[in-house]
């Protein structure tokens, strides 16, 4: 009865013994991507290791380990004796002030990003601009254009790393907290905007459409049906981005000369490693503190 093309037990039997055809197994997109990535990885590593000058050999040399060891030693205060930065309360206070500035920079950045995203994410959602939630009266072309414009802005601002944005901004703003905050804010604006737009796109639209059917205008539909669903998720994203921003402010501070980053760069260039260690301690404290704060805030929003 069977119309098998392969004997039983051989791999890839295409028809069962009762004559029922079995669908063939195909390598899907995921499989292809895996292969593609494996090739990319091989090419990258090959290029790096075989290109010479990669520093790979040196990693395992005595000299490298010795250098690393002495670096860590100097961070810990070897050779500085009493001049070590973390033994001087004055320096602790100074670094603390810088940490405060860094914190302010991060809040400012998140503030810019959050406010900006809240104001502009709606037109970036497909279902709001041209889909089922679109306002009926307005001209369709303008909304579609707006959708693309906002999406492109998001793509650009989130594609360019904060440091590069800061370097550009420092060209026309004087050094301080502001340029750093702007750079971070701009970059995260793109990220938050895109994430929020996606939240709207993935919404269950029934409540909103039902509301519109019972006579609500666009703005009311927004306020009653869309925002309540988007806001909790938005806040969660905001808090998460804050955790990332606080880590990046020190880096942006290198260039924008604000907060811990400014002194970090200076101390590194003067080889004052104990100062660097002190700054790092404040940095880690700041990061852990914000992490805990955000975890608590998230629980507040959730319950």
């Amino acid at each position: 009865m069977s119309m098998e093309t392969n004997p039983m037990g051989a791999p890839g039997r295409t028809v069962s013994t009762r004559g029922v055809p079995i669908a063939r197994h195909r390598i899907g997109v995921a499989g292809l991507s895996l292969i593609a990535f494996a090739l990319l990885a091989a090419a990258s590593w090959g290029f790096i290791l075989l290109g010479g000058d990669s520093g790979f050999q040196e990693l395992f040399s005595h000299e490298t380990w010795a250098n690393a060891g002495s670096f860590i030693g100097e961070l810990a205060g070897k050779g500085s004796g009493e001049r070590a930065a973390f033994l001087q309360p004055g320096k602790w206070a100074h670094a603390g002030k810088l940490a405060y500035e860094t914190l302010a920079m991060s809040v400012l950045a998140i503030g810019f990003a959050g406010v900006g995203a809240l104001l502009t994410f709606l037109p970036a959602a497909r279902n709001v601009a041209v889909g089922e939630l679109a306002p009926a009266r307005r001209g369709l072309p303008t909304w579609k254009a707006l959708y693309f414009v906002v999406r492109i802005i998001f793509t650009f601002t989130r594609g360019i790393p904060e440091l590069i944005l800061a370097m550009i901004i420092i060209f026309f703003l004087s050094p301080g907290i502001l340029p750093g905050a702007l750079a971070l804010g701009l970059h995260n604006y793109g990220i938050l905007g895109k994430l929020s737009a996606e939240v709207v796109e993935n919404l269950d639209t029934h409540p909103a459409r039902a509301l519109r059917a019972s006579g609500a205008g666009s703005f009311q539909m927004l306020a009653y049906a869309i925002m309540p669903q988007v806001l909790p998720q938005f806040i969660t994203y905001l808090l998460y981005r804050w955790e990332v921003v606080i880590r990046t402010t020190i880096v942006v501070g290198f260039v924008s000369a604000g907060g811990l980053g400014r002194d970090f760069r200076l101390s590194m260039s003067f080889f004052h490693y104990t100062d660097v260690a002190l700054l790092l301690i404040w940095y880690i404290l700041l990061v852990i503190g914000i992490d805990l704060l955000c975890a608590w805030l998230r629980r507040l929003v959730r319950t």
Binding site: G9, S16, T17, V20, I22, A23, R24, H25
Partner: protein, 258 residues
């Protein structure tokens, strides 16, 4: 203790088995014997202890009192593992398959007890003993779904995949906890018939808890009635009267009802 042939040692022996959960007695002391090859239906209202009884018989939970022997072996000695799996297999209302895997892999998972770790890993990439899965799937009627992602199948089809996995696992007894509660009546009957057929063909013992008395009467040989954790009756299916059933399901006097 030797494992003599199926016909001589009862599959399950429960003596004075009771189980309590915090605040409630789930199962009052119960004693029963199930012979190898029997098909037993467990009936009763929700919360009457049917699931607890099956979990006890399957070794999923331990009794607070009493002893359970599976094919002559004490249950407490058999932890979850290969040996227990070769004696008893359980299917639930929630099919509990791995949704991301293909049907083939979910069915072959029944062999994990027998395979070495290396072989298990290897099989994920290149399936081993594929014919076992194909044969099992043919018995349950969905061989053509071999390579489909499990999550794409309908409820009834997924339950069949669970059954196919059980066939591959090849235990001596099958315990089914409300296997068809989430299916429509036509599909439910189909599945129960399949289950009973499989049990009969391979001489396996089958104990299933059901809501439908009609299915019990049609496909099973013996019926056990549980109410409020107590054994109400234990009779051949032909001797179960409507009056007994009425008393079994009576809302008055049920725990949890006003």
């Amino acid at each position: 203790m030797t494992n003599s042939t199926n016909g001589y040692v009862p599959m399950f022996i429960l003596e004075g088995v009771a189980k309590a959960y915090p605040g409630a007695l789930a199962l009052a002391p119960i004693s029963l014997k199930v012979e190898a090859g029997e098909r037993v239906a467990v009936l009763g209202p929700s919360g009457s202890g049917k699931t607890t009884l099956l979990h006890l018989m399957g070794g999923v939970v331990q009794p607070d009192q009493g002893s359970i022997l599976i094919s002559g072996l004490p249950l407490t000695g058999l932890g979850p593992g290969r040996e227990l799996a070769s004696l008893v297999g359980v299917i639930h209302q929630q099919f509990d398959l791995v949704p991301h895997l293909s049907v083939l892999h979910n069915v072959l998972a029944g062999r994990l007890g027998q395979w070495s770790t290396l072989r298990s890993l290897f099989s994920l990439a290149i399936p081993r003993e594929r014919h076992l899965a194909v044969d099992a799937l043919e018995k349950v009627g969905i061989a053509h779904k071999l390579y489909e992602k499990t999550s794409r199948l309908s409820g009834g089809e997924q339950q069949r995949v669970a059954m196919a996995r059980l066939l591959v696992q090849a235990p001596r007894a099958i315990l089914a906890d409300e296997p068809v509660a989430s299916l429509d009546p036509a599909r439910a009957e189909d599945l129960v018939r399949l289950l009973a057929e499989i049990a009969r063909e391979s001489g396996k013992t089958l104990v299933a808890s059901l809501h439908s008395v009609q299915l019990a009467r049609t496909y099973f040989s013996r019926a056990i009635g549980l109410r409020n954790g107590e054994l109400q009756f234990d009779r051949p299916v032909g001797e179960v009267t409507d009056k007994m059933l009425e008393r079994l399901y009576d809302l008055r006097g049920l725990k949890g009802e006003a």
